[in-house]
């Protein structure tokens, strides 16, 4: 049951993403992408990461995509005639790259498949938080600093002259 669900969700994710990257309008692309991220969040949940799934929905599908939408609207890029769509010839290198990457990863991953875990259990929020703040305290601090810098940088870039 879970497996079928996983494959379904995977299909949704992939189709959503595909639609997103081939979309005619940036806004549509964002909407497709949000769909795809929702499916991805569910996959996270399936993989025993409810917290990450929640954050995926909140931060990605919620905050970041909305940010994108704002910018798109601000720059008035929503009109299709303004978007220079990539020509087919520009897709070819991208396709080749895709094939190489997928093929290589498939081969590499197939080469050493670890045995499935004996007893799968999700990771509890408690376990997660303990690891985060005990082992990776410094990283948390660094990330917070980085967010601060990003904030300052964005403010600096966005001010009017």
């Amino acid at each position: 049951m879970e497996a079928i669900l996983f494959y379904l969700l995977a299909a949704v994710t992939l189709i959503g993403t595909l639609c997103a990257i081939t979309a005619r309008q940036a806004v549509r692309a964002i909407v497709y992408l949000v769909t795809s991220f929702f499916a991805l969040a569910l996959i996270f949940y399936l993989l025993g990461a409810p917290l990450v799934a929640a954050f995926e929905v909140i931060i990605y599908a919620g905050a970041i995509m909305v940010l994108f939408l704002f910018v798109i609207m601000m720059l008035e890029l929503a009109h299709p005639e303004k978007l220079a769509k990539p020509r087919l010839s520009e897709w070819w290198p991208a396709l080749i790259l895709m094939l190489v990457v997928i093929g290589s990863v498939a081969v590499l991953a197939a080469a050493r498949q670890p045995a499935p875990p004996a007893a799968f259990h999700g990771i509890t929020v408690r376990e997660f938080s303990v690891t985060l703040f005990k082992r990776y305290g410094v990283a948390v601090e660094v990330i917070s600093m980085q967010l601060l810098f990003a904030l300052v940088g964005a403010l600096y870039l966005g001010r009017r002259r």
Binding site: A3, L47, L51, M74, L97, L147
Partner: protein, 102 residues
């Protein structure tokens, strides 16, 4: 968890390469390029989470979280820059910004 890690990885790889294709192909639009980057980052997160599930360790999920934080920082800056550049050149085409030409 009944899905083998292999399949998760294949999904992640496909997702990643879609993002890559987006970045490579959409040279005319910075926004789409950034979207491609987001897709790739999500693929990476999927890999992390998959690994975490495979071995039952929290670290993978943790890195996914950190990635998210990182991404938000990146996106905020990048979009600010897009706005800034658009204001200067009235364009989002990356090929217009070639002042790094050697």
């Amino acid at each position: 968890m009944t899905v083998p890690l292999y399949h998760v990885l294949i999904l992640a790889a496909t997702l990643f390469s879609l993002g890559l294709a987006c970045v490579v192909a959409w040279r005319a639009n910075v926004i789409m390029m950034l979207i491609g980057i987001e897709i790739m980052l999500n693929a990476v997160m999927l890999t992390f989470v998959g690994g975490s599930a495979q071995w039952g360790i929290a670290d993978g999920q943790l890195f996914a979280l950190m990635l998210m934080a990182l991404t938000s920082a990146e996106v905020s800056l990048a979009l600010a820059m897009v706005v800034y550049l658009h204001r200067r050149k009235r364009s989002v085409n990356t090929d217009d910004f070639d002042s790094m030409n050697g």
